[in-house]
Amino acid sequence: MSWDRAPVDISEIEKVSRLAAEEKREITYRDAVKEALTQVMETDSRVFIIGEGVDDPGGVFGTTLGLHNIFGRNRVMDVALAENGITGVAIGAALAGMRPVMVHMRMDFLPLAMDQIINHASKWQYMFGGKVNVPLTIRAIIGGGWGSAAQHSQSLQALFMHIPGLKVIMPSTPYDAKGLLIASIADENPVIFIEHRWLYDHTGYVPQEVYVIPIGKGVIRREGKDATIVATSYMVFQATIAADSLEKEGIDVEIVDLRSLKPLDENIIFNSVKKTGRLVVADTGWKTGGVGAEISARVTENVFSYLKAPILRVSCPDTPTPASSELEKVFYPTEEDIISAIKEVMRYN
């Protein structure tokens, strides 16, 4: 079963089904990211890529591979290890009319840039009464495993979800990765675009042409009536595996793929909770103050009377990431954690 089957939003499913029937074009998530970058840079000279190692033989896990040969090293720019300064440079370039795409090979390097992101990018437009704006896209790559340990594995989306003025995107499929990255670069606001590298080899249908997916719209990956899983990024994939397993036990779950954390598609969450009455939020970050905490709060504020059970969260435990492979097994959230959480909410009547 192809877990990234077209979504249930009618207009999208009709369009994607038609296009898929006409042209079965499947590419990887990483190639979808690269294709978005390539096509946007071909058509818009304001766009440039800036980041550590963007022109090296690894090409940032293949996502920028060879782009410097097409566009030159002035548009695919390697930089000094100066994350805060370079973010400021990117913000300045955006203020002067460019569309920089800054790349961090690991989201763990973003804390070095927090001053420029929080004190400048997010609030520059607001502080100046809307007279200037910062059309900056920051690609941050998450993922872990293989003993990457505490500083090469962090999912910090909750920190950015907290900051007014930022947009936060977490695509889970190749189709979404391309459409949302193009939308992010076209957006007039600073966007934190979070890619999970465990998804990089996943394949899926991706149209050849340029297209955008609206930021702030989630999608139903699987319809169900018993319980809702709201998931982000790699957890969408794990939710689909969990759903297949739960189906065999007669539990029918609905999967909501948020795609964007900020702005958040509240309605898709609320409508699903109204339908099922049970909610599990699955996110790649830590538990405390995480994405699940925010969604729980909003659901109880808005659709409390529909809840049949407490809202449970599947996330990383509140520890830094351990290195040992045995400890990694109990650190990263899996489909088993989702299955347990669903069974728990199903206990309530």
Binding site: G85, G88, G92, A93, A96, Q116, H120, Q125, G165
Partner: protein, 333 residues
């Protein structure tokens, strides 16, 4: 590169219209800041004010060399740069009064000024914050091929910050058309330079980044003018960035309308010494000695400035506040 050109040299290399303009700008900045001191006790300007009194020659000497579409960034101490680059006085005053007619629509206050129509892309109160922003704007100029120059106005405190290193490193590597104007007033709030840096050698540090670093008397507007003119020419020709350390002194307290010697923040003798080197007093003497402006013309200029400031005060005081639902405007574009 002239070695510390001084006020007393005949300014035959500078057009008299420019000489007059610089006097007007310096006096306008001074009188504007003094007007804030006068009005502040009424507590209707509900914003922290970091006054530029004593440092006028730097904003003036640099900005007069810039075209309208060259860019500047400044800091929490930004009124002087805003005025020198041609920002509207009324919009500045209204911003201080928190009105929706303010340059930042009442959303920024004194520390966050903007005037994109004259190349002021914003001011930040995070020390060192704008150093890389100006660098990035200069990068855009190169990418767009438009020969516009960017100027970062920063203090000696900003030299402490990592962004100084990161910005000069990048600007020099990419040969960007950016000027780093360090207004060294020897204090970061009340913390003296000697408590923060191992040597008094800011201008020399540019050498480590393979770019020119020049030290100049920041209270000599002609010296600042000449050094800035050279650096801007170099930048526009694609010869890269320059660090200019302008040595000066802040007369008032770090924030607020008062002097700070009574609080023991800085020694009174130090302030007295620098007041004797007032940039406006010195320049006035030069202009009178060289018969560039007469005493009566100076009085006329002062009256005109005071009238303009008074009109700005009336505009600010009579402008409406933002509506409460404007709180949510401009979070996103």
């Amino acid at each position: 590169m002239p070695k510390n050109p001084t006020v007393t040299q005949a300014a035959i290399d500078i057009p008299s219209a420019t000489l007059r303009e610089m006097y007007l700008i310096m006096l306008k900045i001074r009188r504007f800041e003094e007007k804030i001191i006068e009005l502040y006790p009424a507590q209707e300007m509900k914003t922290p004010v970091h006054l530029y009194i004593g440092q006028e020659a730097i904003a003036t000497g640099v900005c007069v060399n810039l075209a309208k579409d060259d860019y500047i960034f400044s800091t929490h101490r930004g009124h002087g740069h805003y005025i020198a680059k041609g920002g509207d006085l009324k919009l500045l005053m209204a911003e201080l009064y928190g009105r929706r007619t303010g340059c930042s629509k009442g959303k920024g206050g004194s520390m966050h000024l903007v005037a994109p129509e004259v190349g002021i892309l914003g001011t930040s109160s995070i020390v060192g914050g704008i150093t890389p922003l100006a660098t990035g704007v200069a990068l855009a100029s190169v990418m767009q091929g438009n020969r516009r120059v960017a100027v970062a106005f920063l203090g000696d405190g900003a030299v402490d910050e990592g962004t100084f290193h990161e910005s000069l490193n990048f600007a020099s590597l990419k040969k960007l058309p950016v000027l780093f104007i360090c207004e060294n007033n020897f204090y970061a709030t009340n913390s003296p330079l000697r408590a923060r840096q191992p040597a008094d050698n800011i201008a020399q540090r540019a050498k480590g980044y393979v770019m020119p670093g020049i030290r100049v008397d920041g209270n000599d507007v002609l010296a600042v003018f000449r050094v800035a003119r050279e650096a801007i020419k170099r930048a526009r020709n694609g010869d890269g960035p320059t660090l200019i350390e302008c040595r000066t002194y802040r007369w008032m307290q770090h924030v607020g309308p008062n002097y700070d010697f009574k609080l023991g923040c800085r020694p009174k003798e130090e302030l007295d010494g620098w007041r004797k080197k007032c940039p406006i007093k010195r320049y006035k003497k030069f202009l009178l000695d060289k018969n560039i402006i007469s005493e009566s013309e100076m009085t006329q200029i002062a009256d005109q400035i005071d009238k303009e400031i008074e009109e700005a005060v009336i505009f600010g005081q009579n402008s409406p506040f933002p509506d409460k639902d404007e709180l949510f405007d401009d979070v996103y574009h």
